[in-house]
């Protein structure tokens, strides 16, 4: 597994925080603010994620899907998008959602089992988390198709894991995208496991990216813990899509540090040595911090200050989410149809008549 990771098309910020030769070029082209954005967002995402795991342990939210370890893949890719682009996420893309403009309190509300948590602010083209695996992929493809037919410059991105590449939907989406040369990006975070099943059980070919060839779309395999490499790969894919050059399948090679969800125990199926290697040596945040510090763009004190700021923002979001008034029982019926049929109105009335909480 570890050897697999070392064969990527792109790695710009090496695990020790040094830049590779290509990395130096890419880094040189970026404004200082963007470099700092990488850091700010990754820390914000991690702070949120760690807090959410604790909230689940305290019973304040339901089962939660942590993303720690995957911050660079999410932040790097999402920062390369613009406001007009469509995002079709899985259930683990809280980082992407935040950057797209989803308030933290909404993300929490979703994990509190509240459907209102799915509502993105106006102008944010982010779909709710997709729970059934790979089902977002054909839809992202379709949204991209619509943009093309409407002569709009927006593109679409589907986020998914390595396990999703085994579903028929993955194949169907890639195939349409290839046949119709659609402006869509398939962004796979290969975190090595689909719950307990290792990538070697999903795919007989060693990488996701090489499958792109079968659909005649571009495939890029990038170090997913290297925010700069991810950002650059995504920017390229975005440009191709906007220029009418069709779809890209990006495989960001990464690792989830913790369990699949708070209901899972990763110790049952992962070797401590493997986990240790990724946690100690390949964490996306310290390597960027080393680089930023070495370049004189960030100090230790500024890092602490930002971490505290993020923690406060998360606390504020927790307060907001927890003080959001519970919906009435008949909220069940809201938005099932634009105009509820008589049968449904009758059931709603019945619930209001009888329906004290009954469990």
């Amino acid at each position: 597994m570890l050897k697999l990771m070392d064969r990527v098309d792109r790695q710009y910020i090496l695990p020790d925080g040094k830049l590779s030769p290509e990395g130096r070029q890419a880094w040189g082209k970026l404004p200082k603010e963007r470099k700092l954005d990488f850091h700010r967002w990754m820390v914000q995402v991690r702070t949120f994620d760690r807090r959410a795991v604790i909230l689940q342990r305290q019973g304040r939210i339901g089962t939660y899907a942590p993303l720690e370890g995957q911050e660079a893949a999410q932040v790097g890719s999402a920062l390369a998008l613009s406001q007009e682009d469509w995002i079709f996420p899985s259930y683990r893309e809280h980082g992407v959602a935040m950057i797209a403009g989803m308030p933290l309190s909404q993300i929490l509300l979703y994990w509190m089992g509240r459907v209102e948590g799915n509502l993105a602010p106006p102008g944010v083209r982010l779909l709710p988390p997709y729970v059934p695996i790979a089902t977002q992929m054909p839809q992202a493809m379709g949204a991209a198709w619509a943009s093309r037919l409407k002569r709009e410059s927006a593109i679409s991105v589907a986020y998914f894991g390595d396990g999703a590449t085994s579903e028929g939907d993955f194949h169907e989406a890639c195939n349409f995208a290839g046949v119709f040369r659609l402006p869509v990006i398939f962004f796979c975070q290969n975190n090595h496991y689909a719950i307990s099943v290792p990538f070697t059980r999903q795919s007989a070919v060693p990488t996701v990216a090489e499958r792109a060839a079968a659909y005649n779309i571009r495939g890029i395999r990038v170090d997913g813990n290297d925010v700069l490499a991810v950002y650059t790969a995504m920017e390229e894919a975005v440009t191709c899509a906007r220029d009418g050059k069709g779809a890209t399948l990006i495989e960001a090679v990464t690792y989830r540090k913790g369990s699949h969800t708070t209901a899972d125990d990763a110790a049952r199926y992962r070797e401590p040595a493997e986990v240790g290697e990724w946690v100690r040596n390949r964490d996306p945040i310290p390597r960027l911090e080393k680089l930023l510090q070495a370049e004189g763009l960030l100090t230790e004190a500024e890092i602490r200050e930002w971490e505290e700021h993020c923690a406060e923002r998360v606390e504020q979001a927790v307060k907001e989410a927890e003080s959001s008034p519970a919906p009435p029982a008949d909220h069940l019926f809201a938005h099932v149809y634009e105009t509820p049929p008589p049968e449904l109105r009758r059931q709603q009335a019945e619930l209001l008549r009888e329906g004290k909480r009954d469990g």
């Binding site: 729970v131 695996i133 579903e167 719950i195 307990s196 059980r201 099932v336």
Partner: protein, 325 residues
């Protein structure tokens, strides 16, 4: 006999089948090393190895399609779908092949296989994990559909399903996976498919339920008894074929029926049961059949699931309604 939970009853059933029948294989997502996300297959991979307990790629159509092929070629596959809410990619295989291979091949390839899937609400699961879409399968000719509600039945129905010459959809009520223990017979133990279980005898009204709704119906029956109403509680166990005889005998005795299910009301199994009762026992009925069900809305995220799932209060209200018709 050892005391086991419902999920341990399933585990025991799978172990017994794998141990006694070399043709049985278990396949699905996370069923191997991880022992299943609910631990239904715990320890089986270690005991029987990678060729009997198979972690598959994440692909339900592939899993069920493979099971069909295995069955055609002489194995007895038990396929696990991780949650019933994720069975839909395999729906085509189930509806177009699992259910009608026997007919299409005029009995040559009967597709004797089992598809297990946890279902139902009440455990604060994430979105889409809590549906009860048993009707889709009950509505599909060629399938048998069973739902245990006790540890002993869990083992017994599973072994019967594995031995059954027809394909069986075996639905597992997640809510009661671990809610109580009971003695589960050792060794090969079968509970016949197509037979309901009388949970509680009574004279005034028949409550018909299955899966996780059985304990809820029992609680309602208990409260009714305190008010002097005697409920008979039937656990259907087998949704197809239905134990028509047991249902009709009971409602002929009590003259009243309340059907309870988690699934939405419209075209739920309760509709079929009510129709059957009216067809076969109309002259014995003192009141129209009542249904206590989920509402015709998508199964909600967990903040509202207690408002969606029937509880004893709604059942008691329905009992009052049929008593005072």
């Amino acid at each position: 006999m050892a005391e086991k939970t419902l999920i341990q009853g399933i585990n025991d059933g799978l172990r017994t089948a794998l141990g006694q029948d070399a043709e049985v294989v278990v396949l699905g997502e996370d069923v191997g090393k991880n022992g299943g996300v609910f631990r239904a297959t715990e320890g089986l991979w270690e005991e029987f190895g990678d060729e009997r307990v198979i972690d598959t790629p994440l692909a339900e159509a592939g899993i069920v399609g493979a099971a069909v092929g295995m069955a055609v070629n002489g194995l007895r596959p038990v396929a696990e779908i991780q949650f019933m809410g994720f069975i839909y990619p395999a729906f085509e295989q189930i509806v177009t092949h699992v259910a009608r291979l026997r007919t299409r091949t005029q009995g040559q390839y009967p597709a004797s296989l089992v598809i297990r899937a946890p279902y139902g609400g009440g455990i604060r699961a994430p979105e889409l994990h809590s549906d009860s879409t048993e009707s889709f399968f009950v509505h599909t000719p060629g399938l048998k559909v069973v739902v245990p509600s006790t540890p002993s039945d869990a083992k017994g129905l599973l072994l019967a399903a594995i031995r059954d010459p027809d394909p069986v959809i075996y639905l597992e009520p997640m809510k009661i996976y671990r809610s109580f223990r009971e003695e589960v017979p050792e060794g090969w133990h079968e509970v016949p498919i197509g037979k309901a279980r009388k949970v509680r005898a009574g004279d005034d009204v028949t409550l018909i339920a299955w899966g996780a709704m059985v304990p809820v119906a029992q609680r309602a029956a208990h409260s009714c008894a305190e008010r002097g109403i005697s409920c008979e509680v039937l656990d259907l166990r087998s949704l197809y074929p239905l134990d028509e005889e047991a249902v009709i005998a009971s409602v002929k005795k009590t003259g009243r029926a309340v059907i309870i299910h988690e699934a939405p009301k419209t075209a739920g199994l309760g509709a079929e049961l009510a129709a059957r009762i009216h067809e076969l026992a109309f002259l014995w009925m003192e009141a129209p059949v009542e249904r206590v069900t989920g509402y015709d809305v998508p199964v909600p995220m967990f903040a509202l699931e207690d408002d969606f799932r029937p509880g004893p209060g709604r059942i008691e209200a329905a009992v009052q309604k049929v008593i005072h018709f």
